[in-house]
């Protein structure tokens, strides 16, 4: 099963995501229908897309997202529990057995910030763990918030704990504090 003129992955992906112009889309479909090799490669994207959706639904991932994505989770029928924090605040939070996702929405002054790092410290049983840095966290400066979805599967297994998150703007001259947030999680 080979192809003398295989379509590159970027083009296959562009077709899958509806990014091609109509003429290019039709030409690609003609090729894929006649070519088992390229159809097989295209199956990878279908499998990745399905796998990502399943992983999100299963709460298997911790990921920084956006407000529209949270809306998409709700529209997909997931049960979402949200907590909103301003800089310097803390919130009592939890996850129920029937929750699919917990969302932490951290308001932050992000205007002019080019790179944002998140430093996370977990404290269990009064014992603080090491501070872990997540580099180059994605954000939309215009939204004024960083939206984080921890792995629901992981969170459901965790005992009562406290998560401290420090957001810092990383500039050539050094780092500047953007905000600090405390999630006081109670295990049910």
């Amino acid at each position: 099963m080979t192809c003398s003129n295989p379509i590159d992955f970027e083009t296959l992906l562009a077709w899958w995501l509806d990014e091609l112009q109509p003429a290019a889309q039709e030409a690609l479909e003609e090729h894929v229908f006649a070519c088992a090799h390229c159809a097989r490669r295209l199956e990878e994207f279908a499998a990745i897309a399905g796998g990502v959706r399943d992983a999100v639904r299963a709460g298997a991932l911790g990921v920084v997202v956006t407000a529209p994505f949270v809306d998409a989770l709700k529209q997909a029928g997931l049960r979402v529990r949200e907590y909103q924090l301003v800089p310097g605040s803390s919130v009592n939070c939890t996850i129920h057995a029937d929750d699919d996702a917990v969302v932490g929405r951290m308001r932050a002054p992000l205007g002019g910030v080019r790179r944002l790092d998140a430093l996370k410290q977990l404290e269990v049983g009064g014992v603080p763990g090491p501070e872990v840095r997540a580099e180059d966290v994605p954000f939309d400066p215009a939204s004024g918030e960083v939206v984080f979805v921890p792995s629901a599967a992981w969170l459901k297994k965790m005992p009562t704990h406290t998560l401290r998150v420090r957001l810092v703007a990383v500039e050539a001259a050094g780092e500047a504090a953007v905000g600090e947030y405390i999630f006081a999680h109670t295990a049910l």
């Binding site: 970027e10 006649a34 199956e43 990745i48 991932l61 990921v63």
Partner: protein
């Protein structure tokens, strides 16, 4: 049923020609092989245009059973160009479903008879735990772009706009992330 090795060597068009020239007794081995080959392509078309796995499965059944019926009846003018015929049928069917001019259920009643029990190959499914681990091994930005892209099959323009990036930047991050993800998953077809 494993594919017949003598049939497996035939091109799609030659296989379609065998189905078309079988006469009164259908060449069930050739029909099974043709269905097995074309089902994944129709399913991908259905997933891409309908974005729903049940609808894609319905499309496979309807289009391929209709195609076999037409081949048997000698109603496909160029069996050698069977891929084009099937693609045209897919486009027409999806268009009809979208317009609502012909309901899916009604068409399945015509072409989805239980006596026509062809089996489509199982679609590729990735190991869930391994995929989650591979996704978690990406950088924060890469993981976000991959999740935002594939959860709703969103184009780079949309993902970029949501993350305050240009579409070009979103494509670059996506390309790099998928390269790392595919390597982590040993996807190399």
């Amino acid at each position: 049923m494993p594919p017949d090795s003598s049939l497996a060597a035939l091109e799609d068009g030659a296989l379609a020609r065998r189905v078309a020239t079988a006469g009164k007794i259908p060449d069930s081995a050739a029909e099974t092989e043709l269905y097995r080959r074309l089902a994944p392509r129709v399913r991908l078309f259905g997933l891409r245009h309908l974005r729903e796995s049940h609808a894609a499965a319905d499309l496979v059944q309807q289009v391929l059973l209709m195609t076999l019926e037409r081949l048997r009846a000698g109603e496909v003018r160029e069996p050698e160009r069977i891929a084009s015929f099937v693609l045209g049928a897919c486009r027409m069917t999806v268009l009809e479903w979208r317009r609502g001019t012909r309901r899916r259920e009604a068409l399945l009643e015509i072409w989805g008879g239980a006596e026509e029990a062809f089996e489509a190959p199982e679609p590729l499914v990735l190991d869930a735990e391994r995929l989650a681990a591979c996704l978690q091994s990406l950088s924060e930005r890469e993981r976000s772009v991959v999740v935002l892209t594939f959860f709703s099959d969103s184009p780079a323009e949309q993902v970029g706009a949501d993350l305050g990036l240009t579409a070009g930047n979103a494509r670059v991050v996506r390309h790099r992330a998928l390269g790392r993800l595919r390597a982590c998953m040993d996807l190399s077809a």
